[in-house]
Symmetry: C2
Subunit: 526 residues, 2 copies
């Protein structure tokens, strides 16, 4: 379904809007028009795992890491000078490497100018999202070098896959954001692929998206393309793009990263700061310590944005992972990081920052039971913990090495179910429904009661992908498993896809910018 | 692993005990000896969805149902007399059918003599479980007429399947209770199969179990067999068996049920009271109303036990289900009932009763991604809501019509992961692990730190069934999906199974009892 078909509904609980044009489609399975929103407004409380005392201890540990061990900065003297001027204790470790220690409380203080909640604008204003507070945004998985599907197995991603996946994302009402590197388009030169990726998001989607972070000049290109799409003045005053940055754990921020962060912040654009903490490898494998380290790293990156431009939108992040005991492989969708995600939510609220955390993680190599069990454990922690920007909401498989077409649509369906979950439970005279029971009395079914007829279309999440039919019916229809149905589903979505309209002049200007940029440099493959 | 190999550890967080004999096995995948307990002690807070005001409204709705609509009783004048004597307003609807209304607060008052927490004793004392408070018990799925596995598909269950499944249950360290009708042994006469089922639990497991509820005399037989196994005096003073009862929703308790409840309560044994509420069919399809009705029905059944024998152990229950919009089929593992399970937890704590709720529900017909996604959403609600006795923790497929061998071992593995989840997150100097980061400093990995070496064996849940290996390794090893691995796993468990020892005289007495009972009646098949 195209985004244009959705009314620009104010996000909120039970807005109950239906699209005029979408009425026919809304009668098909999985449409759930009453649940559609440009972003979710969480209607359930957060699941607060730890006491305030325990949170105090984690914050104190973060402060000890920052004040006693410090963060290492590389190859970016300008960033070092910013932190020195702000009060950091700089020690030159070697040429182009500095260690900076921060007095307890200093980083938290620096971050206070960041907004607790902000809007990322989409080219279709009806699709603009709020990030922070009780708003929640689902975005596709990010960064897999491989793609896989049931027909062709696992292979390197291409720009064709990239476009397909942006289209699939745009086709799902249960994602709100087009994401970023939805897969690596490995058939395009490394120094040019950001141009094609950003253009694909702009062209095949009309939702908000992420830009490049692999080099400062690619970050600048991403922002420049937004100036073409949104207009220079608009971009100067509004967040229209974000960069998703990883620290180099443990406790390092390299120059490519800090310069990229600086590019986004200077332009008033958003950035997300996500340490990837594989416990035992680059972080303590006890979760309390991993959370403290995650905060030390992410908060320092957030602080940099505020030194560059106070008030720049910024998102605290955490990507917490466990490890297989025998092999040292990363594991995802496991219980300990799920708990840590809940704690990250508590800390983000303490620091009054939006949070990116968790997603539909899985280590399985197939879209099977393992994949969905892991995904669900991880994703529940994100939504229950109150994460605001949930990257990796669709397609994550193979420990993030592969983007799966089938799991993409499975995850989208599950994201739909989470829309219903996050609506919470209304308790009022109507939902208590005593008259429904009284109408027929004990022993009589409620199928025909006025209450049932009033509510049956909206009471329950209606999955587009689950099979709830009797065994015999399911078998008569071919007895397909979930993965096979998902395989058919993504092909149908691609066949049905229609691009959102784009102004021809804007499209021309974007193509011209890309052509000039590509012509200005030789292909580089590293 | 046999229960005897486990030390009779006091249940609790991070008991960290290892079996002496089990050391070698503990080095294999999925052993997690530090997580093994006879039952879980919840180390995380409950997830409280609703405000106290909203809970007040639900309790008020329960009271309105009980006082204005009433509960219908059938074919059991003795139960009617008990409630009349206790203050219920009895109206004879027809011969053998009575409607009883209860003044607001009356049923809650009657239930107050029930224990908030009790012990169900197992024949191996190390396996006795606590039910209530922060204790949590996982038991296999209950009541499927069909069984299925990947080799033979779906067929009616037999007593051979029943024995196999009791053995699989006993083999898993992540279940704590042998359950009851683990599948229907449809090759044994209806009026005799309870004898074979109870014997199988007694013989092939040394954990606690459930007895028959399909007729009062079968309940009595189940309890009588316990007197043989545990000794008459012991049974009189201790809970050694429970019956799992369904109301006839909406708002009916038939005579077979109330007489069965009476049999268990009179013997001082436990009972679980579980309305199966398919919203829109036998309950309001708005969840607030379904919860109020569930409480009205279950609390009335609980009250009966206290009229029969004050202090009899009793478990509040709820089995809340949604419905497929187009077909009217029940759906499981959906978001709305997951929220309702959280509320049932809040209400059970308000009423100071142990709770049975949710489980590893699924409507899929295969042990695939749908199955595990649904299972996880449902099961998380049970453990987060603080349910105490979680029946349907393993094997539930096909909307409860089928017990799946593969999903059984999948669910068991997931139950293991939940042991780690329910342990919560310790926050102390050791787990904050600042010295682990300080040891090498920024940019250096933590593989060899003292902290990592001290914690790596116990920091993370170690799955026996998930594949976390790199894609190439997984492919080299055959590229099996989760279901195929589960298929191999249950066969291996059955091959490795060794029965717990039983006293020969007791075994003889049980067999003699069964033989006499069977000889005393003709086979009945309805």
């Amino acid at each position: 379904m195209l985004a244009e078909e959705r009314k620009p509904a104010r996000a909120g609980r039970r807005t109950g809007r239906r699209s005029g044009r979408g009425t026919d489609r809304a009668n098909g399975p999985g449409q759930n028009p009453h649940l559609r929103v440009p972003y979710i407004t969480r209607g359930i409380p957060t699941y607060d795992l730890l006491s305030e005392d325990a949170l105090d201890r984690i914050e104190a540990a973060m402060d000890r890491i920052l004040s006693e061990i410090g963060i290492e900065f590389r190859d970016d003297p300008a960033t070092v000078e910013l932190f020195r001027a702000a009060g950091g204790t700089v020690r030159e470790v070697s040429r182009d490497v500095w260690n900076i220690r921060f007095a307890p409380g200093m980083i938290r203080e620096l971050v206070k100018t960041a907004p607790e909640r902000f809007t990322q604008h989409a080219r279709n204003p009806a699709n603009s999202v709020e990030i922070g507070g009780d708003a929640m945004v689902f975005a596709p998985s990010y960064g897999s070098p491989f793609v896989m599907d049931l027909d062709n197995g696992r292979r390197y991603g291409t720009i064709e896959d990239f476009k397909n996946l942006v289209k699939l994302s745009q086709s799902s009402p249960w994602l709100h954001h087009s994401g970023g590197t939805i897969c690596e388009p490995t058939d395009v030169a490394v120094n040019k692929r950001h141009l094609d990726m950003v253009y694909a998001h702009m062209c095949y989607s009309d939702r908000a998206f992420l830009g490049s972070i692999t080099a400062p000049e690619r970050a600048e290109d991403s922002i420049e393309m937004c100036r073409i799409l949104f207009g220079t003045d608009f971009v100067d005053d509004h967040c229209v793009i974000m960069g998703n940055f990883n620290t180099t754990s443990p406790l390092v921020l390299d120059g490519v990263t800090t310069q990229g962060i600086t590019a986004y912040a200077r332009a008033g654009q958003g950035s997300v700061h996500v340490p990837f903490l594989l416990g035992g490898a680059v972080a303590p494998l006890t979760m309390a310590g991993a959370v403290a380290q995650c905060l030390a790293e992410s908060m320092t990156a957030c602080a940099l944005t505020q030194l560059v431009r106070p008030g720049a939108p910024v998102v605290l992040g955490g990507f917490l992972s466990s490890m297989a005991l025998r092999s040292g492989s990363p594991t995802f969708g496991t219980p300990e990081p799920a708990l840590a995600s809940l704690v990250m939510g508590q800390m983000a609220r303490r620091f009054r920052l939006p949070l990116r955390c968790a997603g539909n993680f899985a280590t399985s190599k197939l879209p099977d039971g393992q994949a969905m069990q892991q995904a669900m454990m991880s994703m529940m922690s994100a939504v229950q913990g109150g994460a605001n920007f949930i990257l990796h909401s669709a397609g994550f498989l193979d420990g993030l090495l592969s983007m799966s077409y089938e799991k993409f649509v499975m995850d989208c369906d599950m994201c739909g179910a989470l829309h219903a979950y996050l609506n919470g439970m209304a308790v009022d005279d109507d939902t208590l429904g005593i008259e429904a029971l009284a109408e027929q009395g004990p022993g009589e079914h409620l199928f025909g009661t006025a209450h049932t007829l009033r509510h049956y279309k909206t009471a329950y999440w209606d999955s587009a992908l689950n099979d709830d039919q009797p065994f015999e019916t399911w078998l008569d229809q071919g007895g397909a498993d979930y993965a096979s149905r998902a395989n058919r589903r993504w092909k149908q979505h691609l066949a049905d896809y229609q691009p959102p309209a784009m102004d021809a002049g804007t499209d021309e200007a974007l193509k011209d910018f890309i052509a000039r940029k590509k012509a200005s440099m030789l292909d580089a493959w590293y």
